[in-house]
């Protein structure tokens, strides 16, 4: 069993620290006091030294992101910290557990980050479906206000309303400004012209929560955890065909085998492991044979994938990879904001071609067309949503080409109605009024 240092969830003992006294009893708010006794640049330097990188999926160094935000005397506008709590990547459910179990550590991290970028205004953009998480944060924030910990910083909890695209940082900023959540062109980057065209840092919940721990432990101590280029721990979300799904905080660099078998109890019923999606549905799939791949940034890039949001989806032998492609592609089709044509049209087209393959109506040119459509989406849009669909579908064909070919050669799905995804549904059109039919086409 791998070692399990608890950084994000330190002091919880498997439970939750939702009372301010309990959090203080495990050393809560010492990091905030420490940070406020430091000049902002020293806080940023500490974060740079820790090697902490963004946990939302892009793995961008947190300290460097803050360093890009101009100093108040360089740009005389309000500075904003925006926290991305719009967790929506399929396979990922860590941020909600962080908000539920260590809300004060998260909010403490918000205040430390605000200090580092000289901001007096924090917005937490929390996904609209997270009702309980919103309530816990609201109550925790109130307790901190009463304890006079906010230090003049306003923290607004802003609820989203159901749009995956708002996890993309510029779409999130648009949404926070009261617009449709559609990505912006970059540059300018949010650090220069973000919320209300003012300097803005956008950070993920887990990153911000880890900031508190980095300040507490010190950068050097934190950087001892994990592996080179991927320091520290990660809250891995484990789901799918696995005996013990859930969130597990483990050091970067543990292998998929350790996570899935030693921690997760393996595949139920002794079935064969077929595939693993290692970092949320937007990342390339790996085969079961790649189970010894370590879960860190460099190793996953070398394996042709990405650590993404560390949402690990386990797939056993019962699953048809064409059906998986359909279901994943339907998701991106539904969530495409419609701004860029390659994404708006391409995601829909991918679903249609995949459905044709699954139905046994496809011929060889359709498989070529599928790959060609992927190619015509990749890198041709303002944000990575369409790319995510293309990356996923391309990887399914790449790793399981024989299965795709079999659908074409046989003229039917080789699973004969026995796939674990058989009959999967795309979201129903329950709110598909006339406007929606226009808006989402």
């Amino acid at each position: 069993m791998p070692e399990r240092p608890q950084i994000v969830f330190a002091g919880t003992d498997g439970g939750a620290l939702t009372e301010i006294e309990d959090y203080e009893a495990v050393g809560g708010f010492t990091s905030l006091r420490k940070a406020r006794s430091m000049v902002p640049d020293d806080v940023i330097a500490e974060l740079e030294a820790s090697g902490l990188k963004g946990r939302g999926g892009a793995f961008f160094p947190t300290g460097r992101k803050w360093a890009f935000v101009p100093k108040p005397d360089q740009l005389a506008k309000p500075h904003y910290l925006v926290v991305n709590a719009d967790e929506s990547e399929p396979g990922t459910f860590k941020d909600r557990e962080i908000m539920l179990r260590v809300p004060f550590r998260f909010l403490e991290g918000c205040l430390i980050a605000a200090h580092a970028i000289s901001s007096q205004h924090v917005f937490v953009y929390i996904r609209g479906e997270y009702e309980q998480e919103f309530e816990v944060l609201r109550d925790s924030l109130e307790a901190m206000r009463k304890a006079d910990l906010l230090g003049g910083v306003t923290v607004v909890l802003h609820r989203g309303a159901g749009a995956y695209i708002c996890g993309e940082e510029t779409a999130l900023l648009e949404s926070l400004e009261g617009k449709r959540g559609q990505p912006r062109t970059k540059p300018p980057f949010p650090a220069i012209a973000g919320l209300y065209a003012a300097p803005t840092a956008v950070n993920n919940v887990e990153s911000i929560t880890t900031v508190t721990s980095v300040l507490e432990l010190g950068a050097a101590e934190y950087a001892k955890l994990g592996v080179e280029n991927s320091t520290g721990t990660r809250v891995f979300s484990l789901s799918g065909d696995v005996v013990n799904p859930g969130n597990y905080e483990l050091p970067h660099g543990i292998t998929l085998r350790e996570l899935i078998y030693d921690v997760g109890g393996g595949v139920p019923g002794g079935r064969e492991l077929k595939a693993i999606i290692p970092g949320g549905s937007s990342t390339s799939i790996l085969t079961g044979a790649e189970i010894d791949t370590p879960l860190d940034f460099t190793s996953l890039v070398q394996a042709g994938s990405s650590i993404g949001s560390a949402g690990v989806i386990v797939i056993d032998e019962r699953c048809c990879m064409v059906q998986l492609g359909i279901r994943v592609s339907q998701f991106y089709e539904h969530e495409s904001c419609g701004k860029c044509t390659p994404c708006r049209v391409g995601t829909r087209w991918l679903t249609q071609i995949l459905q044709k393959i699954e139905d046994g109506r496809a011929s060889q040119p359709d498989l070529d067309l599928l790959l060609s459509v992927c190619d015509r989406i990749m890198g041709k849009c303002l944000c990575p949503l369409g790319d995510s669909d293309a990356i996923a579908v391309l990887s399914y064909v790449d790793r399981f080409r024989a299965e795709y070919q079999a659908h074409i050669d046989l003229g039917r799905c080789p699973f004969d109605g026995e796939s674990s995804l058989e009959g999967i549904l795309a979201p129903s059109a329950m709110h598909d009024g006339p406007v929606h039919r226009i808006a989402h086409v």
């Binding site: 479906e129 159901g162 989806i313 999967i424 979201p427």
Partner: protein, 154 residues
């Protein structure tokens, strides 16, 4: 407090009032029985100095805003990959049987709306079912008759 007065309070949280449109629409939807009739869009528009058309352009973008009347209880089953691998399809079918309606529709008596939704962020606790936005975790098809009975009794 009237919806308009509550929205005025909300807008004070933001440097620019248009930012309050999402919370304002959420509030208006709650006040109007779970959807946004034209009157609700007009209220929000009036309170935030926007046009009703602008408010509709926002409401139509986000999945949680409804532009048609919903049942008094809204049941939404996640059917994304991890839930689908764990039997979400059977859960949907069980709800369809117990409620006597297809996914994507509302019962004639207006009691229930049943829908399927994209990832609710509970992949490790599949299948996730949101009942009036409250998440039930690890729901299996066998649990559905009991859940529906409980909802009918409530």
């Amino acid at each position: 407090m009237s919806v308009g007065a509550q929205i005025q309070k909300l807008r004070k949280q933001y440097p620019e009032s248009t930012s309050a449109v999402l919370p304002a629409l959420r509030l208006a939807q709650e006040e109007h029985g779970g959807w946004l009739p034209p009157a609700a869009l007009r209220e929000v528009a009036h309170a935030l100095d926007l046009t009703p058309a602008y408010c509709l352009s926002i409401a139509s973008f986000y999945d949680q805003f409804r532009l048609e009347p919903m049942g008094r209880t809204v049941v939404e089953v996640c059917t994304n990959v991890s839930c689908a691998l764990s039997g979400a399809q059977q859960v949907v079918e069980a709800f369809e049987r117990e409620l006597g309606i297809d996914a994507g529709s509302t019962s004639d008596d207006g009691a229930f709306t049943l829908g399927t939704v994209e990832c609710l962020g509970g992949c490790g606790w599949a299948t996730v079912v949101a009942i009036d936005n409250r998440h039930r975790l690890r729901v299996q098809a066998a649990d559905v008759p009991g859940i529906v009975e409980e909802l009918r009794d409530a």
